[in-house]
């Protein structure tokens, strides 16, 4: 049986009077790779924050592994949008990764041996173990992004959320990040917010276009004929281009 990882039922959210998200329904299974696209202010980051439990749902319901998101925090890995902040901060790569452990249940003094072993393992997964004792600011943007992914992997999540992971990285670095995500996707469900539609289409198996409403494109690698229900977004556009090339 296919395991459901994320389930969003009839979610509507507003900061004040105007709805930012309306009637969102989404279901993700094990090993799904969802790309979320859409215009700025369309509600992409808001949806991520709701999934992470930073914002509280009022109307509708989000469940992760059949539980409330706040109870599933240890099963969610998160890579925030801007990882180029604070690059002069005196912190080693390994210390950044160790932040991924939930702190309040562990001893407050120093780090446990198992935690360090686990963090080194996460670094090895993203190919950055050699840099464990480097200062975070000495890395390139792409390397730093991989460290942030290692931090998110630290607690062995079943769901990995990434907010614009390739926004400030050169083309080579972007490809490396997506290849890495492809590897991780073999055992982790991935949700990535990205403007990078062409790259996204090559790796994701589902694409959600969010602009207040959510339109899900399943099986995006198959060409769908004409836009339906008046919905037309970058996904259709890319599919049209792709069709021309064929």
């Amino acid at each position: 049986m296919i395991k459901k990882i994320l389930e969003i039922d009839d979610l509507t959210f507003s900061y004040d009077d105007n709805n930012v998200l309306e009637n969102i329904n989404l279901s993700l299974n094990e090993k799904d790779f969802l790309a979320i696209i859409g215009p700025n202010g369309g509600g992409k980051s808001t949806l991520l924050k709701l999934i992470l439990g930073i914002l509280e749902t009022k109307n509708g319901k989000i469940t992760i592994n059949n539980q409330n998101p706040s109870l599933q925090l240890s099963n969610i890995g998160y890579v925030p949008q801007n990882t180029n902040i604070n690059t002069s901060f005196p912190i080693k790569v390994i210390e950044v990764v160790l932040m991924g452990h939930i702190s309040y249940k562990k001893p407050i003094f120093g780090y446990g041996k198992d935690e360090i072993a686990c963090a080194l393992g996460a670094l090895a997964q993203v190919g950055m173990e050699k840099f464990a004792n480097s200062k975070i600011g000495s890395l390139s943007g792409g390397q730093r992004q991989r460290v942030m992914i290692a931090r998110a992997l630290c607690n062995h999540p079943t769901l990995l959320l990434l907010d614009e992971p390739t926004a400030s990285i050169d083309v080579d670095g972007q490809k490396q990040i997506y290849e890495l995500l492809k590897e991780l996707n073999k055992f982790i469900t991935i949700v990535v917010v990205s403007h990078d539609i062409s790259v996204t289409l090559n790796y994701a198996n589902k694409v959600a276009y969010i602009n207040k409403f959510l339109k899900l494109h399943n099986n995006i690698n198959k060409f769908s004929t004409t836009p339906q229900n008046g919905h037309f977004c970058e996904v259709e556009l890319m599919q049209m281009f792709r069709n021309k090339n064929v």
Binding site: L52, I54, L73, Y78, P80, I85, N86, S88, F89, P90, I91, K92, E95, V96, L98, M99, G100, H101, I102, S103, Y104, K106, I108, F109, G110, Y111, N133, S134, K135, R151
Partner: protein
């Protein structure tokens, strides 16, 4: 050349200098990495209100200043967390209010002819033995806070959003960092005064930032650098009869320029040998 430290008040000054240097190395690191320098300046100036209150009521100066500093830091932490974009305006407001309260309270104290200069520019040569005990207790308190809270302090300082997701109480730790710093600031003020306290908190940290790759390393290195500057400053001010606080600061500035110059030459040299 070290015979000056056989004089009684110079021994006290030396010990106070070392203690305060270590304190300012730790809290200076916290203040710089959290971008709280302006907040620290605000706390230092607000605590002048506490000095006024202590003089007016006949309380110990440290106590009055600490009460005001802690109150100001809690208020500022609250405002900084709640109104991130407007926090500079609020700091300026609290800053001026504290100083004004201090001036008025000293005006109202009958027959008190205050030596304002010693609070503005420090009075390390007037440190008494009881002050040393206070400084030592504060040093131990700060050490305990940093050692036991290190993980959370690091997480909140480096990436508060992520810390929040990982279950760290960001508001609590942000406030604690400011409160602990504020008490350290009051101690540092005794040595260099409330106007110069900012440079004592930032110059050694600025140098340490370049040569350390962890927060704890930065704290230790800046504490040691600060100690060096303070001892040299003390000796220079003694032999040339200069104001000690200002001399320590100028020694620090010269030290920083020297460091940056040597580092620049070293970097150029290193690049040259590789090529």
């Amino acid at each position: 050349m070290f015979e000056i430290f056989t004089v009684d008040f110079m021994q006290n000054a030396l010990m106070a200098g070392v203690l305060v240097s270590l304190i300012s190395g730790i809290i200076g690191s916290l203040i710089v990495v959290n971008r709280m320098v302006f907040l620290a300046g605000g706390i230092a100036h607000t605590s002048y209100g506490g000095i006024g209150l202590a003089i007016f009521l006949g309380l110990p100066i440290f106590l009055g200043a600490s009460i005001f500093a802690v109150a100001a830091s809690i208020l500022m932490a609250f405002l900084a967390l709640k109104y991130k974009e407007r926090v500079d305006t609020f700091i300026g407001l609290i800053w001026a209010t504290g100083m004004a309260i201090g001036v008025i309270l000293i005006d109202l104290t009958p027959g008190y002819n205050v030596d304002l200069m010693s609070y503005l520019f420090g009075s390390i040569l007037a440190v008494e033995t009881s002050d040393l005990y206070t400084m030592f207790s504060v040093f131990v308190m700060i050490l305990i806070f940093v050692i036991f809270g290190y993980r959370n302090i690091l997480a909140v300082s480096y990436d508060s959003e992520y810390a929040h997701i990982r279950g760290v109480n960001v508001g609590l730790f942000y406030t604690l960092i400011l409160v602990v710093s504020s008490i350290g600031i009051v101690m540092t003020m005794k040595v260099v005064g409330l106007i110069l306290v900012i440079s004592m908190l930032t110059i050694p940290v600025f140098i340490a930032e370049k040569i350390s790759n962890s927060l704890i390393g930065m704290m230790i290195v800046s504490g040691l650098i600060s100690t060096l500057f303070t001892i040299i400053g003390l000796m220079v001010s003694y032999y040339y009869n200069l104001t000690t606080g200002a001399t320590i600061i100028l020694v620090s500035v010269v030290g920083m320029i020297l460091f940056l110059t040597i580092k620049k030459i070293y970097d150029l040299f290193k690049r040259g040998t590789i090529a």
